[in-house]
């Protein structure tokens, strides 16, 4: 195939995934939350079980006036949603869903580092929004976001480093290629740490202190309206897609399944990621919000030691079996 055409096609597919998957997760969240709480959720938009509810929401957001507060720092305020959203698009490029070159947007040599580095940049968007809004609630939200990121970046990195040690490579397809089924019990602690720290970086409940509505309205996004607000929401759901995809690729063996990786391997990746996304929603409905000091304590006194222990275990097993 023509080189440029190939690149364009890959970018197009990744962009389509980026636009649809977060919406699918959002709609699933509507429905799953509703049923867990004994409700039906949206039922009218689009006819069949309210499938078009999020499309209708998008249209609503697009119609709303785009307000920038008078006291705000105009340019940074307007730039923040893009900074929050675009890193997830870049990360999606590097996540492989099947074996071979055909099932990944772009093979990155240091894939783990690329993914974690770029995900960390997304938080800058929340910080910019929090500061530029000229609003005390926003500023508090931004502060909490920064504190939360600093606390949870470390265990996430350490957990990912453990897998890289186990696989002997930092390339994402390479890690899945090296995967064996017994890695799941071997790396289970690292997987839990990674998933929990990822949830905290996305500020999903129960780690949604930065947007705690009962205390600081909606944190850094309080002053946002219309499309820019929708972009922040989209960033959250794109973050769920990325986190579930990454956890699948790093810890759950990606396209490996009981009937081999050939042909339908990508289906395994999607299935595992979908189950994880369901868990993300489930946790939101189940657990109350952690207080700020509990949040910090969980990371520094539990997750960091656990991830260090996982690295030690990985090293020991690696030396023993080699």
């Amino acid at each position: 195939m023509n080189g440029a055409l190939d690149v364009a096609l890959r970018l197009l597919v990744v962009f389509a995934v980026f636009l649809t998957f977060p919406l699918i997760i959002g709609q699933t969240e509507h429905k799953v939350m509703a049923h867990m709480q004994g409700r039906l959720g949206p039922m009218y938009a689009g006819g069949f079980h309210g499938w078009a509810q999020l499309v209708a929401d998008g249209v609503k957001f697009a119609q709303k006036e785009d307000v920038v507060p008078t006291g705000a720092d105009r340019r940074i305020f307007q730039l923040a949603p893009a900074v929050a959203l675009l890193p997830y698009l870049l990360v999606l490029l590097a996540i492989p869903i099947g074996p071979g070159q055909g099932a990944v947007g772009q093979v990155v040599d240091a894939g783990i580092f690329f993914v974690l580095a770029v995900m960390g940049v997304g938080v800058l968007g929340s910080l910019m929004a929090g500061w530029a809004s000229a609003n005390k609630f926003s500023l508090l939200g931004g502060l909490r976001t920064a504190a939360q990121l600093l606390a949870y970046e470390l265990p996430m990195l350490l957990a990912a480093a453990s897998v890289a040690m186990a696989a002997g490579t930092v390339s994402l397809p390479g890690i899945v290629d090296a995967f064996k089924w017994w890695w799941v019990p071997w790396q289970i602690v690292g997987a839990l740490v990674f998933f929990v720290a990822g949830l905290a970086e996305l500020q999903r409940p129960p780690f949604d202190m930065p947007v705690a509505d009962s205390e600081i309205i909606f944190g850094a996004y309080t002053e946002y309206t219309g499309l820019r607000f929708a972009l922040f929401l989209l960033a959250e759901y794109a973050g769920i897609v990325v986190l579930c995809g990454l956890t699948t690729v790093l810890f759950l063996g990606g396209w490996h399944g009981p009937w081999g990786a050939d042909g339908l391997g990508w289906l395994w990746t999607l299935l595992k990621a979908a189950v994880l996304a369901f868990v993300v929603i489930w946790l939101r409905v189940t657990y109350p919000r952690l207080r700020e000091d509990q949040l910090q304590k969980l990371s520094w006194t539990l997750l960091v030691p656990l991830s260090l222990a996982q690295i030690a275990l990985t090293g020991i097993v690696k030396v023993v079996i080699s």
Binding site: L127, A146, L150, V170, W300
Partner: protein, 209 residues
């Protein structure tokens, strides 16, 4: 930079010149102009938070330069550590101050000429050392990438392991120092020790930096 340089390939046979530059070299120069401009704005702007955000542009530009030199691992590390952590820490610190929206009239220093002298001297020394050390070293951009994780890791842990370990001892000392300082401050002001978690984490991360 020294890490990437260890992985450079010396191609003495092929002639090299500064005329008829390739596309990569032109891109490199353009990006370096943008990076330099962003760095200048960082230190001259009167808006504190803008300075931090221009720093993001500067550090990101540096990461792009590393990428263009095929040092992929170093580039992502640059983004991860500096853009993802250090700048977030800076912004966190700025949010604890007044950091007004708009200009800070007092965001200026009488030391600006001394600072400029030191900066120019440091830059001249660095440029001189780097140019002198790598005058005859060329990266073969067309061949296999010479800055992959594997090559970087091998050179780091074969040739540069002593500086690497010394650096980690230095970081450990900084970490311990930060903890000691924060505990001492807490001991002096026991009445205000009602928020134990957040200050502790801050000082620890500062140590890591």
């Amino acid at each position: 930079m020294s890490l990437a340089s260890a992985a450079l390939t010396v191609a003495a046979a092929a002639p090299h010149g500064f005329l008829s530059p390739t596309g990569v070299e032109i891109t490199f120069l353009l990006v370096s102009v943008v990076t330099l401009a962003a760095a200048l704005v960082t230190v001259t702007t009167r808006q504190l938070v803008h300075a931090a955000l221009w720093l993001v542009a500067t550090l990101g530009g540096l990461a792009v330069e590393y990428l263009l030199l095929t040092a992929e691992f170093i580039a992502w590390m640059q983004v991860l550590i500096y853009v993802g952590s250090v700048v977030v820490l800076l912004l966190f610190g700025l949010m604890l101050t007044k950091a007004p929206i708009g200009r800070s009239p007092d965001a200026d220093s009488g030391n600006r000429w001394a600072a400029l002298t030191v900066a120019v001297a440091a830059a001249a020394a660095l440029v001189w050392v780097v140019v002198d050390a790598f005058r005859t070293t060329w990266i073969d951009l067309a061949g296999a990438p010479s800055g992959t994780t594997k090559i970087t890791g091998a050179s780091l842990f074969q040739y540069w392991v002593l500086p690497f370990e010394a650096l980690s001892v230095l970081l450990l000392a900084a970490l311990v120092g930060a903890i000691v300082l924060s505990r001492k401050a807490k001991g002096e002001a026991t009445t205000t020790a009602s928020t134990p978690a957040v200050p502790g984490t801050r000082s620890e991360k500062e140590g890591v930096r």
